[in-house]
Symmetry: C3
Subunit: 202 residues, 3 copies
């Protein structure tokens, strides 16, 4: 479907920007910025595809992914001063991307005949692993392990998507509802400073 493809591209673009912005703080050179942008944008899908055995990994079969990442880097260089002002817009697209990547990863995994439980997990991997590698390569403890609730939003969103599917809802509606759910959870989480409890805290 056309609009899914467009959202996939927008998600890739925004994820690439998120990677390039981390390269700022670390004062990486252009090559480093390129690698971090690439890894952030396609790292999740790459790990998923290697694990489920769908190789060559997805983004290799469609040059548009690389083009969107290139545009994301150029955009970051040209408009870095404005990006901070647009942080709400960026956050919105980022959240849409996360929701969409979750569902696309889930569907691809189901399509290979794997179990729904694995599919939910791979949906989450698709959405969040790029950020984990970004943080690991830049020598940070992945942010997601400390402060973010959105991986939980992806997991619960994946389960909701499967439930809607079992209930016989049309695919488009299931996707729309799930993406909106993930967005709402994440936006509420940020606004209200939700976080998961830390187990065993002393």
């Amino acid at each position: 479907m056309n609009y899914i493809y467009i959202m996939d591209m927008v998600g890739t673009f925004v994820f690439a920007i998120s990677g390039a912005l981390v390269a700022i703080k670390k004062e990486f050179d252009f090559f480093g910025a390129m690698v971090i942008a690439l890894v952030t944008a396609v790292g999740g899908g790459t790990l998923r595809d290697m694990m489920i055995g769908s190789t060559p990994v997805g983004w290799m079969n469609d040059t548009n992914y690389l083009i969107m990442i290139g545009l994301g880097i150029i955009f970051s260089v040209l408009f870095r001063k404005y990006i901070q002002k647009l942080s709400k817009t960026m956050f919105l697209f980022d959240t849409i991307g996360i929701g969409l990547f979750t569902i696309l990863g889930l569907q691809k995994t189901l399509g290979l005949g794997l179990s729904p439980m694995i599919a939910v997990l791979m949906g989450m991997v698709s959405a969040v692993f790029g950020g984990v590698v970004r943080d690991t390569l830049t020598n940070e403890v992945p942010l997601i392990f400390r402060k973010e609730i959105y991986a939980t939003a992806c997991l619960s969103g994946g389960i909701i998507f499967l439930l809607l599917d079992v209930l016989g809802l049309q695919n488009d509606w299931s996707m729309a509802i799930t993406v909106v759910y993930i967005m709402v959870i994440r936006i509420l989480a940020v606004k209200r400073h939700w976080s998961l409890p830390i187990p065993f805290q002393r």
Copy 2:
């Protein structure tokens, strides 16, 4: 064989606990604890399967692995006070798991027609790589590169297993002897503070 499957599950359970316990010190949230437990338990087998091309990776085809990991996390949350008291029991299961993962990884690799040398290496990867990723994700220099001798126990254990096989010993006996060998080496190493020499030390 049934008892191999049971030991595989016990190993997964214990490795998951070992991951969850690291999440304590780092004060990760529940999601982070879940990821670290998962990665520690199945990370080694995942890398092995991706490298030898046995995809989807093994644990995806049997939901029991995820269930054992879930139980490991719950167990860690409920009984964390007692786990320290049970440290000897935990260490025992952990060591059995390592020995068993080594042999299972070795056999899977041989089964794909790869050379014995590669099989020994992949046996070791199966047993220790989960811990390496756990340490890398939590921003530590992997423990195994500094203090532990057990990777060496896995490598030599793998070679012993192959030798026993060449000598015509029945598979069950080769496995039992190898697991016991790896356990004895590791237990002696910890008791007597064995460690490998550091090359080039000034």
Copy 3:
């Protein structure tokens, strides 16, 4: 071709030494040194092969790779005092290895029917990713993100190789020219302290 295979082996040997030398500073034990040497030497090709779906990964089908890595480690232990004096020779072989790994990775990717853009990227991954994993495992921010221009040399070298091929040049000549180009760029970069600009620098 025979000389390509020899250069591949020499590159593997030199990369293994480069890994073992990092293990010195970090005071890893022998096992740690072995792992870092292995990862540095074959890490790039391993990631490339897992991503493009050419599994089991290449070095598993030819035991000579492991033998060259073993020799590299032994060489590092025996001659560590002389290696620093031979640093120019080492740098030369390292640079040849990088150039060659770039082209071999590029050709393997093209051979699977993937696009030239992806092939150039995978050529670069083959050449530089081993060093990235080495740095990540030893808890350093990968050097390549900060100071080195050689990844850029690999990328531009890959593009030059493709252009020469399109122009109808014989494969051997395209390879020779590209390897020399990558060597010249890297040597000049080191001599003249070239580096990429850092985007967004304040």
